[in-house]
Amino acid sequence: MTRTDETPATPLPAPRACPYAPPAFYTETRASGSPRRGRLWDGSEPWLVAGYDQVQQVLRDPRVGADVTEPGFPNTSAAQPQVEGGMFFRKDGDEHMPIRRILNPDFTAKRAQAWRPRIEELVDEAIEAMLDQPRPLDLVRHFALPIPTGAICELLGVDLVDSPIVTRAAHLATDLAAPTEDKVAAMHELNEVLARYAKQKQQQPDDRLLSRLVNRHLPSGELTFEQVVRLAQLVIGAGHETTANMLSLGVLALIRDEEQRVELLSDPDTYAATCAEEMLRYWTIVQTEPRRCALADLEVGGRLIKAGEGIICSLAAANRDPAVFAAPEELDVTRAERRHLAFGHGVHQCLGQNLARVELQAALPRLFQRLPELRLAVPEDQLRFRDSHIVYGLHELPVTW
């Protein structure tokens, strides 16, 4: 591969020195003002883009593609083109937008708001169940996972809330270190369950997403049965583990910072929304995506990125860009700033963002209102963060009160 800069390529994903900050290579790349080369598992050297304006530019540029089967695409593994190659969110243009628009109705800003009362109930149910458990307990398992799993299963119209199949499949799918055969086996297991649900919905339609897919978009010829099942699987996977990690990290941040906790609870009606946006910005959990491939030559930050070269954007570094955010390293739950890129940017921006927002807004203040004494049950330096996952988070969060 021809190198067009002087610096040796850094292996990606780069390690974090501190669990509360993006890896230094990403923030240093941002500070340098130009993209820099990283090196992947297969020896390829995609560009790392880390400045806010540059990330936004790349993700909005139609000359930059999301197709994992494109030669030069910075794949997460050798299996990625085969496993994800058919998925709409890894496609561009006419292979992407029509499918996204089929899913959109269940994820609009207004539909997410309409779910708020039910999400508030899910939050209270999770807290009630926590009160019945012996302490200390793992907040990931008893709070962070059940709320988004419950919400996404109801939205889809499947009763899989207590199913380990869902959690296992989502967990393995985002673990970069998990063996491919385990990932594939877990996905097949989830697929079988969802296929059974889809057939059941053909007999007994309802007003939920899975029923709509199988009773409207399958007969119309827009989707095949296999696509329906894969979309349901995607919605479940993307819809619960991401939010679960945001919830557990959000709780951790508020446990660590009493001042911020007091601020949030002083006026939750005002600060629930700003707190949710600030947690999204501060943690920016998607740590190894978005990945893209240049379809034509383009210039980013004074650097020429050639057609066929891979690009990886660091949303976390972009979200701490001092050119955009005042005191970017500081957590401030009253920060009125929605310009963060935690959900990505461009036409692939997170489909479930409005639902995720409502879940964070409902869950974080409520937990501390109900359990004001909530605290860590282990020393902070014993917490295990998900460094090897596409989505950052905590393996477990032992708490007591």
Partner: protein
């Protein structure tokens, strides 16, 4: 101010609705942006400009 949208490229993220609900909505059937008010009053200016900057697909244009 004059607001125009490019429906064809809209991905339906809904950011404009959160920013300026008096000016933008989403179609129920596919989430695509609906322009409620193409010439919003001056009071909406800040909200509309926020919608422009947040729109992931850059499909909103404003002429002041």
């Amino acid at each position: 101010m004059q607001v125009t949208i490019d429906e064809a490229r809209c991905c339906g993220a809904g950011q404009c609705v959160l920013a300026a609900p008096e000016v933008f909505d989403q179609r129920a059937e596919d989430g695509v942006v609906v322009l409620l008010d193409a010439t919003p009053p001056d009071g909406e200016s800040a909200a509309v400009h926020e919608a422009v900057s947040l729109c992931p697909a850059a499909v909103i244009a404003v002429e002041d």
